[in-house]
Amino acid sequence: MAVSSPLKAQHMSTLTSSGPAEPSRLRVVLGMLWRDKFATAAVIFLLIAILCAILGPALLTEAATRQNLRARNFAPFSLDQGWLMILGGDALGRPLLARIIVAARNTLMIAAGAVALSASIGAMLGLAAGYGPRWLGTVIMRLADVIMSFPSLLLAVIVLYMLSPSVGNVILVLAVTRIPVYLRTTRAEVLEIKERMFVQAAQVMGASSLRIVFRHILPMVIPTLVTIATLDFAFVMLAESALSFLGIGIQPPEITWGLMVAQGKQYLANAWWLAFWPGLAIILTTLSLNLLSNWLRIALDPAQRWRLEITPANKIGGGKANG
């Protein structure tokens, strides 16, 4: 997106290259993170979520799938049925806490998979469209238009019908619909970067196109892509949830947070917790990612980075001067 201004080369090197001369780079980054308390909280939450995704299914699948009709729609905040029931039980009396933890894997896997897939395909196509011959650029851009206008719902139904509603296929559907975003951004950046001095210089010196693209241009584009990807992660989670709501997403007995919200929706009037907790998990994750992305945008932007590098006392003064 045009928001994130293109970065200058010298700053890039400090961020991407981790030379042996900088043993405390991690500390610098952590220090910058600590300056932004929201971002710190976000990172901690995301780490917990990832931990759940990794360990949850192995530890809690049994508890999360065992039905108990007597604990059906069991109200939250009670330890009568064990600590797993602290968030209440679902329509089949399964503990919501356990289900949310187990569902973290599918949810994060779908979002991460879709984002990684669309970002890498989109970036490759974008590089080709921006640096390749003019006709190729035109063809790729028109292709992006086609993908943009292809209804994602139809795509979902086609994939569901011809393949099956598995995690992998839902990733595929979501990834395809997000490709144009990365493609267009990458191309726009490439068009701008390739006019710069150092690229021209590399061309004059006879570097191959592949080398220029991957050694010189791609590293310049990646920060922007990372920012978009963090935001997109949130978008994809919500899209997955909407597909579940319409009945054409992940199908039970697989679980995701989105599916849990969609299933709990009908009980909203008399058992609000069924839809609320997984909804809260989605909100907290997307919120964390948004906060993290805000932080990243500042941390990666040389014009604003000072905000995270100076002491709090100076920061107040700086803020005033700026306003």
Partner: protein
């Protein structure tokens, strides 16, 4: 204007490609006969249905017939509704168009005002609150927000009708639900863009020249900060023009999103194709308008 001519031609080419893809792919997803006819339809009835709608012909023959009809501006009849598909679609599209226009107008106005205010003092209390609440809003699944909205405002407080169309009041809840997500996004863009514009050379120059009036700085900055905003507004509007499926489904709003999901589930191919065509053309027109807006705002592009 050769630039626009070539653009129209290439966009037309991608529209054609899109329709061809949809034509063949949608036909791979099963037989509309079984869905139109009852469970206990006899095999003869199914055969008759397929024969009557030309579904027994080889795919390529069906395609040829469709192309021929389209060249005569006939987009076929809806399988379900027994009337021209294009009529079904335009009727629904008018609703979606209004919904998208009103929502985007409100979102843009609100995001620009609030985003600029937040950018005056980045990291300030107002900025933090605005950013945080808009992010929370934008992170919630829309069907969830819609149901909660109905529960609170229609059932609990009784201020608004639950759903449907008819009066102005019927539009408020759907628009409010649609408002939230693009608002959070555009607000962030406006804010980010204004923050960097405030720090940029020309604002500093203006200040150095002794321009003290905040409003002048504001207008000056806004004009330059609007460019990225317009791009995002365009993207979001395009998404809305494709139909707000979830909101339309819940509120019983007869827009193109609901039509699309119904036609996809019923395999009403002609309606799917017509709907894609109409929305694609609308999005194309909107992109042209956005280019014009760009040119108006940025003198460099205008020349």
């Amino acid at each position: 204007m050769p630039r626009y001519a070539s653009r129209i031609i290439s966009s037309f080419a991608s529209l054609v490609l899109l329709l061809v893809m949809v034509f063949f792919l949608s036909r791979l997803t099963g037989d509309p006969a079984a869905l139109f006819l009852p469970d206990d339809a006899t095999p003869q009835m199914i055969e008759q249905f397929r024969e009557l709608h030309g579904l027994n012909d080889p795919m390529i023959v069906q395609f040829g017939r469709y192309v021929w009809d389209v060249l005569h501006l006939n987009f076929g009849d809806s399988l379900r509704q027994a009337r021209p598909a294009i009529e079904v679609v335009t009727q629904a599209f008018v609703w979606t168009l209004w919904l998208a226009l009103i929502t985007m107008a409100l979102v843009t106005a609100a995001a620009v005002v609030i985003g600029s205010l937040a950018a005056f003092r980045p990291g300030g209390i107002f900025d933090r609150i605005v950013t945080f609440t808009s992010l929370i809003g934008a992170s919630a699944p829309d069907f969830w927000v819609a149901i909660v909205g109905i529960t609170v405002f229609a059932i609990g407080l009784g201020w608004l009708p639950t759903s449907g169309t008819g009066t102005v009041w019927h539009w408020i809840l759907p628009i409010a639900v649609l408002f939230i997500r693009p608002f959070g996004l555009i607000l962030q863009v406006v804010r980010g863009s204004m923050v960097s514009a405030f720090g940029s050379a020309y604002v500093k120059t203006a200040r150095a020249k002794g321009v003290r009036d905040r409003s002048i700085i504001f207008v000056h900055t806004l004009r330059n900060a609007m460019l990225p905003v317009i791009t995002v507004v365009g993207d979001q509007a395009a998404a809305l023009l494709n139909g707000a499926v979830v909101v339309e489904t819940i509120f019983g709003f007869p827009g193109v999103g609901k039509l699309m999901i119904d036609s996809i589930l019923n395999r009403d191919f002609n309606v799917i194709l017509a709907a894609i065509m109409v929305t694609a053309i609308a999005i194309f027109v909107m992109n042209l308008l956005i280019d014009l807006a760009y040119a108006l705002l940025d003198p460099r592009i205008r020349t």
